[in-house]
């Protein structure tokens, strides 16, 4: 695991969640993310699950608690890359991740972070053409452009 799992990219932390983490690894990774947010002043944490093929209830709670902790540091979590089989299993287990935005892949995660940044800085015009997904932010932009 170590530091290669967490990389800084401008105001984002890119976390490539490793395949087989013990419960101790999971807690270490969460601490590492919180430290890096502080160190780099990150605004976004992109949790990429492309490598993960087994996601149980402990892991689900880890994602949720990480999102809550990250929020207290003024940043936000985006989840990306959940595999089909993982998604099916999470829902059958009865686990949902309310209030945490999830996207298909890293491209979408980056785009969502960028568009939300742009919205909060009032630079809507520059991204209007690029907004293609169905999010509250995108709808807000669409409505404003009609006014």
């Amino acid at each position: 695991m170590e530091t290669t799992a967490v990389q800084k990219l401008e105001n984002l932390l890119l976390v490539s969640v490793p395949q087989d983490m013990t419960d101790e690894d999971v807690i270490l990774l969460r601490r590492q993310v919180l430290q890096k947010i502080r160190q780099h002043g990150s605004r976004w944490v992109l949790l990429d699950f492309a490598l993960v093929d087994i996601c149980d209830s402990f892991f689900g709670r880890f994602i949720y608690s990480m999102a809550e902790m990250v929020k207290l540091m003024g940043a936000k979590v985006i989840i990306s890359g959940l595999q089909d089989a993982v998604v099916e299993t999470l829902i059958d287990l009865g686990l949902t991740l309310p209030h945490i935005p999830a996207v298909l892949d890293l491209d979408d995660a980056l785009a969502l972070a960028r568009s939300t940044d742009a919205t909060s800085f009032g630079a809507m015009a520059s991204i209007r053409e690029n907004v293609v997904w169905d999010t509250p932010e995108a709808k807000l932009l669409a409505n404003r452009s009609e006014v």
């Binding site: 983490m21 013990t22 087994i54 149980d56 299993t89 059958d92 287990l93 009865g94 686990l95």
Partner: protein, 136 residues
Amino acid sequence: MSYSDINTATIPIKSSVDVIIARRKAMNMAAEMGFPKPEATKIAVVVSELTRNIVIYTDGGSVVLTAYGGSNKQFEIVARDNGPGIKDVDRILSGGYSTSKGLGKGVSGSKNIMDIFEIHSIIGKGTTIKTSKKMR
């Protein structure tokens, strides 16, 4: 059913590393006998939930994974420990119970995933959970 149709593995469970070994083994065995990937994933997650309970609540135990071939293919998990036992089995199964780190959800969720789910628990002696999933 002939003997060669049965593939079994016994894995001692003591630490969180054993949880990973056990669930990975279950995933491979289930995939090998022909369970589609989402089903093999669910079986692996159930093994993960049950073995983690052993690590968190007890001093250790074991899990026996059995792949039954032949005409009625199914995957069986038997998780055993010599821990304190479960006081209220019904409450655990309904998911409204969490004694240590919110694991009640893991057991009730596992029950939803599997076809048969039985808990035998004696206070002060230990718990055995036997569960299986048929291939459809």
